[in-house]
Amino acid sequence: MEFLLQPLTLLTFFPILGVLVILFLNSEMKNAIRWVALATSLITFGISLWMLTQFDASNPDLQLEAKYPWIAVAGWNIYYYLAVDGLSVLLVLLTAFLTPISILSTWTAVEERVKDFMIFFLLLEVGMTGVFLAQDLFLFYIFWEFTLVPMYFLIGLWGGPRRIYAAIKFFLYTMAGSILMLVAILFLGIQTGTFNVPTMLTRLPDLYATTISPQTQMWLFIAFAAAFAIKVPMWPLHSWLPDAHVEAPTAGSVILAGVLLKMGTYGFLRFNIALFPDATVAAAPWIALLATIGIIYGAAVSYAQQDIKKLVAYSSVSHLGFVMLGLFALNPQGVAGAILQMVNHGLSTGALFLLVGMVYEQTHTREIKVYGGLWKIMPIFGTIMLISSLSSMGLPGLNGFVGEFTILLGAFGSKAIGNPWYAGISAIGVIMAAVYILYMFQKVFLGPAGEITHHHELKDLNWREIVTAVPLVIFMFWIGLYPKPFFDILAPAVEKLLSALPL
């Protein structure tokens, strides 16, 4: 029992309980299934808040450890090891926060195979939480790969017309990256004699001084980076993302943008930077280059989209570019801004996907040009959309600004990147974001009524949809107006991470 009552174990595996209950429900009892899933995810969120109360923000180390030998055969030394620190705590909370919101958004949108949908969704939550908490590379790899399976089904079963193509592309693309990481994990495990990350960190400096050459370290860095860069996705490895997003059901898109992409940036933060310090410093300018290209490219391509969902999808490429730029600035502002921006992107892009899904449910089209004048008919929807859009483009007073500003500040003065031009060019991305987002907003909500707005009897949001979207809006304002508590919780861990770098 002691094993199960650890806050982190409970947090990670509680959704399994919901899955078990749902398994025993008849698939015709759709509402019961929905309520069970929602209740499970809300209790999980409650557990995550309980975890937060136990969390000591001033402590830079791993906390609330749940650590048991798992596979202790000679030479294996694999631990069941979950722990949280300032780097991951916000992302864990974000996961637990977005899951009930996504489930709520499927209330009327998913009518087919509700049982399977909820099972996959809750399993996905287990995988995502596990990714952020695992401190043993074997355990991490299992969670990391496992998240693919439910997401594959979510896209492939409830997605749009090209869903099978998108699902397979998503699966193969992501797997392509992670298998190289597997080889690197095994190599590290054999060299250090452990898969446990904190122990590995104590043994690696000696190995870097003796047996592991800088070239090897760089190869290991690249192998890990391949897995994470595809997930982020960094330019030029992003091509799976628009397909997956456009075809995925709304809740899938929300989770994909909100959490799954963060697994990539989190991987860079937790593993690449910590495990391969020399390679990280050496690679920083190159990553910054790719990130900057991604920012500009993502923004430019967004502008060209005719499909709202695709526009938001490409904007993710641009936003995640900022996160990468901040991470590899390798100074406290940059990294802290990047972590906060991960949360911000989860909130604002999650909200945008959610809102696009709500209107799509009524009209079954996402073409920008058929809309127009939506504000008059759907004022509540319009307001929430406006706030989310402004948050996404980084208007001061909302969350996006805080993250992007801190990142640019960090990148500008970064010794690791060594060139303020990257920050300078990236700042153009902020302006471009304003262009494509306002362009979309104007075409959809303002001006004369478009063909869809004209012919459809569109209803404004109902109470359920408002309840779904408002929590996100609250956090947009909170982080935008008073980000201090968020920065405080992650600052010590960031300091500790960066202090180990040879800068």
């Binding site: 798992w70 496992f146 594959y152 797997m175 392509a176 080889v183 095994l186």
Partner: protein, 480 residues
């Protein structure tokens, strides 16, 4: 040569029990009326289970018998238990199928028992002569079984298997002769001692290579795999399920034993050959599987590809520090493979109709709506073949790659993971058909199939969370 003592028989008692039981069953079957051959199946399963019970009690024993002709050690016991499990599952999937296909005859089960006993002897062999005997004992019943339906394709499969199998056996015999010529020994330890005294040389290497070729046929390694798709497709599916598991275990177990015990001194040459063999097998098996539309052929190529993965475990066999890990990894992967493989074939058998219908990939369309449990089980097997969590296949591959990387063969490990990625494409196609396409499949519900599917699926998932005792078993199953 001393006279065999009673204690000698103790060392091969599981084998002896099974052979005697099979002989008795052959007689008993005469008195079992046609149409009630279920009794024969039950008795055969009973014999296997009893033998397994005894084999388990031998877990901690370690000795040799018949003047060093056979071993009894953790390795052989592990393999014996694995082979007996395959035998049991082989009967479970066969019983209903044989009735349905109108090929219900008692000999089926007796032949299967003989084949299993041959495989068990193979696992215990300490001498190349015994290996040859065991090879014949396991193969000949399989040739007959492959031709069991007496339909054209089945007979073609039987003859093809027989001809190529005989050819392969010829290689083994010739290799044995050359090894004997080089070392004056057929006993594995004798060969090792003679070879490490410096009497080795080209002759020994050629002999070892020929033995490798012979076993390459048995385990379906490229370029000796040509028979596999045709035989797997033509043979009754129940036979294919058994053959693709049991014969593969036996072949690999013998190879592991022979190479690790007798040929470490020529590892410098053999490692390169094994490297290439493993690489080519993974590449060809996985690439050709992509273009298959028949599930039996696809699984046949998948079985070829998996032979390549298991062969990876052999590559570092000459490295003293790594060899125990690589043997354990190989044994562990064989278990993984057997469970997953039987499960997948059981699902295929559930869908197969008489006249060989129901075997195209398209026939799986819509399976998840009508039979969610069956589709979920098949998904587990496909994920396990890919090497994805939460299945045993992932743990198995992790172990294999670990052994290879520990041996310093990073390139081969990368090739292994890249081909796994390719394999994901065709395994996922089955999942796509089951879940994402509409169709109206009809399956047969038989207790044996239901048992096999449930047992293997649950084991594949559950054991992936608690692999520790399996690891212990595999890693203590070292060679004597």
């Amino acid at each position: 040569m001393t006279q065999p003592q009673l204690t000698d028989f103790y060392t091969i008692l599981p084998f002896t029990i099974l052979v005697v039981w099979a002989c008795l069953l052959l007689l008993a079957d005469l008195f079992i009326p046609k149409g009630r051959k279920g009794i024969t199946a039950f008795l055969a399963a009973f014999g296997l289970a009893g033998t397994m019970g005894y084999a388990i009690t031998q877990a901690s024993l370690s000795s040799t018998g018949f003047s060093g002709m056979v071993y009894l050690d953790g390795f052989s016991t592990y393999a014996n238990i694995l082979l007996l499990i395959s035998g049991l599952l082989g009967i479970a999937v066969a019983y209903g199928y044989n009735q349905r296909m109108g090929i219900e005859r008692g000999e089926y089960y007796t032949l299967l028992l003989f084949s299993v006993s041959g495989m068990m002897l193979m696992a215990q062999a300490a001498d190349l002569i015994i290996i040859f005997l065991a090879l014949e004992l396991l193969s000949i019943p399989l040739y007959v079984l492959a031709a069991f339906t007496r339909k054209l394709e089945s007979e073609e499969a039987g003859v093809k298997y027989f001809l190529l199998g005989a050819f392969a056996t010829g290689f083994v015999v010739y290799g044995t002769a050359l090894v004997y010529g080089a070392t004056g020994n057929t006993s594995l330890t004798g060969i090792f001692l003679a070879a490490s005294n410096g009497t080795s040389g080209l002759l020994l290497t050629i002999g070892a290579a020929l033995i490798l070729v012979g076993f390459g046929f048995k385990v379906a390694a490229v370029p000796f795999h040509m028979w596999t798709p045709d035989v797997y497709q033509g043979a009754p599916t129940s036979v294919t399920a058994f053959m693709s598991s049991g014969a593969k275990i036996a072949g690999f177990v013998a190879l592991l034993r022979v190479f690790a015990t007798a040929f470490p001194s020529i590892s410098a040459d053999m490692t390169d050959i094994l490297w290439a063999l493993s690489a080519v097998t993974m590449i060809v098996g996985n690439f050709v599987a992509i273009s298959q539309t028949n599930i039996k052929r696809m699984l046949a190529y998948s079985s070829i590809a998996h032979a390549g993965y298991i062969l990876m475990a052999f590559v570092p066999y000459g490295n003293k520090d790594v060899v125990s890990v690589s043997i354990a990894a190989g044994l562990f992967y064989l278990l993984t493979y057997v469970l997953t493989n039987f499960g997948a074939w059981a699902v295929v058998i559930s869908l197969e109709k008489a006249e060989g219908k129901g075997l195209e990939l398209n026939d799986f369309a819509g399976l998840s709506k009508k039979y969610p449990a069956l589709a979920a089980a098949m998904t587990v097997f496909m994920l396990s073949f890919i090497g994805f969590p939460p299945t045993l296949g992932m743990v198995g591959k992790f172990y294999l790659f670990r052994a290879v990387i520990a041996g310093g063969f990073n390139g081969l490990a990368i090739l292994g993971v890249v081909t796994s990625l390719i394999s994901a494409y065709y395994y996922l196609r089955v999942v796509v058909n089951m879940y994402m396409r509409e169709g109206d499949p009809v399956t047969e519900r038989e207790p044996g199939l239901a048992f096999t599917t449930t047992f293997t699926a649950v084991a594949t998932v559950v054991l992936s969370f608690v692999p520790q005792w399996l690891f212990l078993l595999a890693s203590t199953a070292l060679l004597r």
